[in-house]
Symmetry: C2
Amino acid sequence: MSDLIQARILKGFRDFLPEQEIERALLIEKLTATFRLFGFVPIDTPALEYSEILLRKSDGETEKQVFRFEDNGGRDVSLRFDLTVPFARFVAEHKAELYFPFKRYHIAKVWRGEKPQAGRYREFVQCDFDIVGSDSASVDFEILALMKTALDSIGVSAVTIKVSHRGIFNRFLANRGLTAKSEDILRTVDKRGKIGTEETGRLLEELAGAENARVILDYIQCEPVTGTERIEQFSRTLEKIERLAGGPAADTARLRDIHNFMKARGIAASYVLDPSITRGLDYYTGVVYETFLDELPSIGSVCSGGRYDNLAGLYMKEQVSGVGSSIGLDRLIAGLEQLRGNSPQPGKASFTEVTVFCQSAESLPLYHSLAAAFHRAGISCEVFPEAKKMAQQYAWAEKKTIRWGILASDDGQTVQLKNLSNRDSFDVTIVDAIKKIQDSRSTPAT
Amino acid sequence: MSDLIQARILKGFRDFLPEQEIERALLIEKLTATFRLFGFVPIDTPALEYSEILLRKSDGETEKQVFRFEDNGGRDVSLRFDLTVPFARFVAEHKAELYFPFKRYHIAKVWRGEKPQAGRYREFVQCDFDIVGSDSASVDFEILALMKTALDSIGVSAVTIKVSHRGIFNRFLANRGLTAKSEDILRTVDKRGKIGTEETGRLLEELAGAENARVILDYIQCEPVTGTERIEQFSRTLEKIERLAGGPAADTARLRDIHNFMKARGIAASYVLDPSITRGLDYYTGVVYETFLDELPSIGSVCSGGRYDNLAGLYMKEQVSGVGSSIGLDRLIAGLEQLRGNSPQPGKASFTEVTVFCQSAESLPLYHSLAAAFHRAGISCEVFPEAKKMAQQYAWAEKKTIRWGILASDDGQTVQLKNLSNRDSFDVTIVDAIKKIQDSRSTPAT
């Protein structure tokens, strides 16, 4: 006993038990289907890269969080901490093999040595989708439409997608002679959600004086409206910030085009123009956006992104403009769990539809031939492998949330099909059992 | 320019371009569906674990290959090099939350600092499936049946699955007084595929004397038979090794049960009893198996496994017996590529079924409303975002292997639907376009 090792996992890392992993897998499958519906293709890149590649552009904060080490060949390597930097390296390395506009999705793990806290882990799944090689309003819009459709596809429809444009904000600041202070102002505006409008105003006053603070607060003001009122809000707010930025220009025309595409697709009521969204000090240069759960805005944005001028500029001379967004899947799942709260939906513990119970080990060949018939019909089936007590076999089936059970007799002509949720049973041929199970798929277990 | 970083990937690591990643994703989706059909559930474990957990049982060879380092918190951590050791830790840590027999699949990346060579990479995907908590012939058989069904599901049907039993071999060696030399003998037998029967015989003679060498060669002899002859071969070979091992016992009864289940399921012709299969010095204790591509046996086993007595013995007192197998997906893909050779199947470069061409930027709202209609009908569609030359738009659609194109006129009543493979075109309503595209799914593009 003394040489047992305690089975333990690293702090900030998690195992996924079947019920959790099934939930995550089904969400990923639905997101994948939606990405493909919009013409996005998958790519993959290594989890490990040269540190020089991954860390060159990062701030000190990222560097502190990254898992970085020297490999056995003496190379300085790091685990990727996002999917954007590897994508930039990928585009630079494979530009001759790609076609532009290039739309890719990438759903994969990333690692950060963050301080673990609720909903924050050191290993988590990111779902990124980007379009590179086109600086058109059309692809800005496609990302925004895809965000809404993707979240709808996983049942997350009560969301507010807040849109803004960094270029207009910069023009507004220039117009007021505040360009030199733009970093500090952006940082302050970004904090408003946390510190409140009053404190934001006070900080802005310190930075830029009372009059500027008042006008900045006016600029970032966003009326709280819902439903189709948002269509009018978008237009009205756009007119306001256009005026404050010094009049019409390509950036405001861009937002107007995007809004027209939203109206043409019939989804404009899902978007709010919120000029306070700036994505802080990120590398964005055009449209930016964040997405909040209407019932739980406090967990922060579950899907954010924007347009960047020069994705792969560190790695190649050619400039590739792009636009993209990222769903923080694990944070989203944590949010959904919190929303379910005390009335948890019964989870799916397996995909098994029917189990063939083992009443006698001698009959296992028969049980396996029945399982083969179910498998051929596309029905998920497993044979209980040992002649244990029936109570134990039933308990096992219940834990796996299996709906149907088969008790077979050796004549092999008919079987007893049991609805395990209410113990109703039917003497049927295997053909009828297959039909009954298939027919039951559209109705929930009772 | 001087501060450009050369975009380069670590040696032994790979990017997956869309066409390759689509192939891999589709294979994984088919394998996943088959695992679920057999009642297996997914789990996930971290890529990083305490080195103490991962490396305790390993031989020096593994230790040299593992990516091991000290994290920022001073912990000695490693990237997982297989999915079996983390599964053992998982079972020990969560045994109270699991139900047995427990069937899990896990498709994920693992990392080994191996010398890169054809089909061998430092990052690769493993597909593991195991059943733990039952030491019955029924679950031994389920793994074997699943191996065949899973490979069938990805179109890899020309395979030979070679089955054997380590217990019978051990009994045979004991029966001849060779137990003390069993490690060396196993190692030698395992090399037969590489060094040939003659050289194997010579080495065995050195190890155990001429008479023993002759009997060992007789024991491991496996007649080359195909198709249904294999059913007879299995029984005959089983009788022979049973006799050489000293008569009937639980181990030979186990193989006989498994063979009966194969016959009951109607799949016995896919398996060969090959007593030379021992899985070398692995931790297997019961049935063992390897799978070879009939047309390319030289790349080695693409799906191997067996029964182990005590999966999680390093981490807990309770003994959990299990049986499992693993598909080396990347090696399998490399093999399939090699088989396709000079007549490559045209790959799928995207999932897009139809593209709406951009004849005029002013009409983009119309194009996006058409795309919305296709999306609602479940048809993968994308809008070309800029009014570039039509030749350029056609070339882009061709690279993405998109079958259909739409040229829309501003009246919005009818569209021109173009079959991009032969440039046939049809003036249709959007409803008819949807129907035509859906109907075309069952026939390949010409």
